[in-house]
């Protein structure tokens, strides 16, 4: 074992061990639990940064564990996994802080934080997976570790949401398993690598490979909430706000989107996909999802449901970017949106959670004048919303800019149409919220005003959205700097030789 392998193992263990300890802690020891959580997430960020630096300077990180012939566990740190791992670990730290504040005094916190840590371990596992089998392993474990979080409240409604989530996710996992095995039967066991499998298979097994591609996309599309596989996501809104933030920005939906990226770039490879001619299919589904999610978001009065449909729409930008895989600019736009969407959406969910926790506001119709009561929260919310619409200088603008450039370069006019219409719709469902919150008049008392402190809400609830909103602004302003998500994505695209 060299230091690189130890590093990979410690990255996984830095949240796994706190998780296991937290399971065993008594309910009352919330101070020790918080310390463990924060310690674990800080160590994880540091370790992942070390890995990022190593990767940038061309060091390779790899652990291979053979299981049975044709099946091996492969953890591998490449630029793409670094992108997802860094995003997840940073957002995990913020979500942990937020969750500690959010769940103060509620029962069963040992379980919650235990599964929370396991869930992040598994997400990092997905990021580091170096072949489809390892990806599948962590992908299925993600379903199992998030299920207890979704049904954490233990109410009838949350159980129903949990059941639907399981039905969708496990069926998707089953389809994915069949696809992985079929692919292995055709092209043999293969690691994730830049060009995908040899294009000689396309002449012999073209139809089968198209079919397998569709199955693989269905498998990951369930978690990425591609229409029509999105049904579980709006229902899962019954979970506590930190869990929603986790599902939407850090773990589940992101894991699905990341899976699409891996399949397109590393399993099939751009060249093979162009030969097979399946990219328009992916692009079409992504476009439909973008528009459908936005239209449905318009109709929601429940704030979290509106955000959920917005997620469905926004995550598909990533898939859209992947469907233009022959255009480096579009790939940059899709990849960088993985990070940008996470930052923006987690801000919005933190804010929605603050409104619900502090004032009992769940519906948009109740939000009139709320900005005067909670100005900082609503400032963060507004920045997130501007990002979603794509107003410069937020990060959302950067993503859309690159996607648009890629679409233009490919000469596909419909990409531009989709982007324009979707931005318009984003504006239609976010701007009314903002005008209502900032310029509306408060109508009667807030539904359940609970907590009065020196600040507008608990400090632990207030800081995380402010931090993420700050990053949303800054990462957009300095997108061209040496250190920014965009710079790293350009590095990835260079590595892939696109």
């Amino acid at each position: 074992m060299n230091w690189g392998q130890w590093l990979l193992i410690s990255i996984l263990l830095s949240s796994f061990i706190p998780g296991i300890i937290i399971f065993g802690l008594p309910e009352k020891k919330h101070r020790l639990r918080t310390v463990l959580n924060l310690l674990g997430s800080t160590i994880k960020i540091v370790l992942i940064l070390v890995m990022d630096i190593g990767i940038y300077f061309g060091h390779s990180f790899e652990i291979r564990i053979p299981i049975i012939p044709g099946v091996e566990l492969l953890l591998n740190g490449d630029p793409l996994s670094a992108l997802f791992a860094t995003l997840s670990s940073v957002l995990w730290l913020l979500t942990t802080v937020y969750a500690v504040g959010y769940l103060e005094g509620s029962p069963n916190r040992s379980h919650f934080f235990g599964y929370f840590s396991l869930c992040v371990t598994v997400t990092i596992g997905i990021a580091l997976a170096g072949n489809l089998v390892t990806f599948l392993l962590f992908y299925e474990m993600l379903t199992l570790t998030t299920y207890p979080l979704v049904i954490h409240r233990g109410t009838k409604k949350s159980l129903r949401a949990g059941r639907n989530y399981l039905i969708y996710a496990l069926s998707g996992g089953a389809v994915f398993l069949v696809a992985v095995i079929s692919l292995q039967a055709v092209v043999g066991p293969a690691d994730f690598m830049a060009a995908g499998f040899s294009s000689s298979f396309i002449d012999t097994h073209g139809t089968v490979l198209v079919l397998i591609f569709i199955l693989l996309i269905i498998g990951v599309g369930v978690k990425a909430a591609l229409v029509p596989l999105h049904g579980w996501l709006p229902q899962a809104m019954v979970a506590p706000a930190p869990v929603s933030a986790l599902l939407h920005a850090v773990a589940v939906v992101k894991a699905g989107a990341f899976g699409i990226i891996r399949i397109v770039l590393d399993v099939y490879g751009a060249h093979n996909l162009l030969l097979l001619g399946v990219l328009p299919l992916l692009g079409g589904i992504a476009s439909i999802t973008i528009l459908y999610g936005s239209v449905r978001a318009l109709q929601q009065d429940d704030l979290k449901r509106r955000l959920a449909f917005s997620t469905i729409s926004q995550v598909s930008y990533i898939a859209l970017g992947m469907s233009l895989v022959d255009q480096p600019l579009a790939v940059v736009g899709g990849l960088v949106h993985l990070v940008h969407q996470g930052l923006m959406k987690i801000t919005l969910f933190f804010c929605a959670g603050n409104l619900a926790e502090t004032l009992g506001i769940h519906r948009i119709s109740e939000m009139s004048g709320v900005a005067r009561r909670m100005p900082l929260t609503m400032t963060a919310f507004s920045i997130g919303a501007f990002g979603m619409i794509g107003i410069p200088p937020t990060v959302g603008f950067v993503s859309k800019w690159y996607l648009g450039l890629g679409g233009l370069a490919a000469g596909t006019w419909w990409v531009m149409v989709v982007l324009a219409v979707s931005s318009l719709l984003n504006g239609c469902y976010f701007l009314p919220i903002l005008t209502k919150a900032w310029f509306g008049k408060q109508q009667g008392p807030w539904p359940e005003e609970q907590y009065i402190s020196r600040f507008e809400t608990r400090l632990m609830l207030l800081v995380p959205p402010l931090v993420t909103a700050f990053i949303v602004m800054v990462a957009g302003l300095v997108a061209n700097a040496q250190i920014s998500p965009l710079a790293w994505v350009r590095f990835i695209v260079r590595e892939y030789g696109l």
Partner: protein, 506 residues
């Protein structure tokens, strides 16, 4: 003294002699039963580990009892599959022994009927030790009549164990179990008679050379298979299993579901793929596969519909046993090298997961006093370890990675796709989705927080009631990651199928 050398085959008798002696001692010293049984279970595990080392160093061995060579004498033998089954029995058996101790201590401490529970405990230990001896004997014997004796020993002690709980439902179920078991044994015995008439030998190695296979041999195989299928509870011969397993005491349910059915299955598999391989036809293999497929689906659907936890777990056994039979038609792929791996992985994973699940169900039953699925709310807060064990065991039953069940499923799917028999793959996938429905149906009840539920500190249960289940569940989970070890043992000591089918598989 060559007998006691490290490489001497005569060590082989220890896994039979140790529990047998312990069983007799348990009858004699009825106040020290647990100590004796625990010592025997530990010694048994040690002996099996020793035999495994022996196998890895010296390869498969034969032990001719008393120096008599076949066809006159009785032979024991060790090889890869047999040792893995022995290991499975020893590990699961040790965990069940510990759990049973916790179970009976808890029941006896219950002021309502301490005498009855004491009596149950007194009978449990010797019967369990006899059963263990029978199982070990079955995995080691290489003589078809000797196998009959072990089958009878297992059948009778298992039926008596099932009757221990003393409730009317369990008495009826265990009586039916006894009858079925005897019927199975008798059918098997009849098969032996046919076989002896046509071949004149009983040793499996010698029998293997009778490749001609006249009508006598076919009839013998058919009769023995029916007898063993009855004991293995393959659909549609499963009718006796759910009531017998669900109404028994929790440690007994674990023994019956995890180990006893595996014994007869192992025998059946060995006959089909080693001894009588030359007279097996493809339609016969497919027929077994179809029965297995129906068992998977039927068992899972029934498990979904049950209102009681233990009955649900018992129906899940019916379903999981079906997977073992799906392996039969898959034996036609790449020289059948995979079929042993599939079956062994499935058996190992299921043994650990199912005994963990029955133990968890038993603990829940003790804690709540019932096991109605709709009233299981709030258990997670009071029995976190047990619920965790149940969940992890469920992961293995669903065949999700990285469990042993996943490896088995992976091998099955690979084989079925490689041989273009995609319909088996479909059944396997549907079966595992149904399994996830019945596992999570209970799991979600555990998570419900009932109205007005007080999050008080639960009264501490004996660790013996919770930890053995968790340990077994974790073994079944991590079996997938350590899959290369069982495969290595399997590869060291099994008679390769290519040797049995010199001209390729049928």
């Amino acid at each position: 003294m060559t007998v006691f050398q490290f490489g001497a085959p005569s060590w082989m008798i220890s896994p039979i002699v140790l529990p047998l002696t312990a069983g007799l001692l348990c009858f004699l010293f009825s106040h020290k039963t647990f100590t004796i049984a625990l010592a025997a279970a530990l010694a048994n595990l040690l002996a099996v580990c020793f035999l495994t080392c022996q196998l890895l160093i010296f390869g498969p061995m034969r032990c001719h009892m008393g120096g008599w060579q076949p066809p006159l004498g009785i032979t024991l033998r060790t090889d890869g599959p047999a040792l893995l089954m022995l290991l499975m029995t020893a590990v699961t058996g040790l965990a069940i022994t510990l759990y049973a101790r916790g179970y009976f201590t808890y029941r006896i401490a219950d002021p309502r009927q301490p005498v009855r529970h004491q009596r149950q405990q007194r009978y449990f230990w010797p019967l369990w030790m006899l059963l263990l001896a029978g199982l070990n004997g079955l995995f080691l014997s290489n003589d078809i009549f000797n196998l009959y004796i072990t089958l009878e020993l297992i059948g009778i002690s298992a039926a008596s164990l099932a009757a221990l709980s003393g409730k009317p439902a369990s008495q009826l179920a265990s009586f039916r179990y006894l009858m079925v078991s005897l019927l199975g044994s008798l059918t098997y015995l009849l098969g032996i008679v046919f076989l002896y008439r046509s071949c004149g030998v009983l040793d499996l190695d010698v029998l293997r050379n009778f490749t001609a296979g006249g009508p006598g041999m076919r009839a013998a195989l058919a009769l023995m298979s029916v007898g063993l299928l009855l004991k293995t509870a393959l659909f549609p011969l499963h009718f006796w299993l759910p009531p017998a397993h669900a109404n028994a005491l929790a440690p007994v349910s674990a023994i019956l579901s995890a180990l006893v059915v595996k014994g007869s299955f192992y025998l059946l598999f060995r006959f089909w793929f080693e001894v009588f391989a030359s007279i097996i036809t493809i339609p016969a293999l497919n027929f077994m596969g179809v029965l297995g497929a129906v068992a998977i689906l039927w068992g899972a659907v029934q498990a979904m519909r049950q209102q009681r936890l233990k009955l649900m777990v018992a129906y899940s056994t019916v379903s999981q046993l079906g997977y073992l039979f799906i392996a039969f038609p898959l034996a036609r792929v790449d020289g059948g090298a995979q079929v042993w791996s599939i079956v062994i992985f499935m058996a190992l994973a299921h043994a650990c997961a199912k005994s963990a699940m029955f133990m968890a169900a038993g603990t829940v039953f003790l804690h709540l006093g019932h096991d109605r699925i709709k009233d299981l709310s709030g258990v997670r807060s009071s029995l976190p370890i047990t619920v965790f064990a149940y969940g992890i065991a469920g992961v293995s039953l669903m065949g999700l990675p990285p469990s042993g069940g996943f490896i088995a499923k992976w091998l099955m799917l690979t084989s079925s796709l490689a041989s273009s028999q995609w319909w088996w793959a479909l059944v396997i996938m549907v079966g595992s989705l149904l399994a996830s429905i019945y596992v999570f149906r209970v799991m979600s009840r555990f998570f419900v927080i009932p109205e007005g539920f007080a999050f008080k500190k639960p009264e501490p249960l004996s660790p013996l009631l919770e930890w053995p289940a968790l340990a077994l569940a974790l073994i079944s989970l991590f079996l997938g990651l350590a899959a290369s070890w069982p495969l290595y043992i399997l590869a060291t000591g099994s008679t390769s199928l290519a040797q049995i089918f010199p001209g390729g598989l049928p």
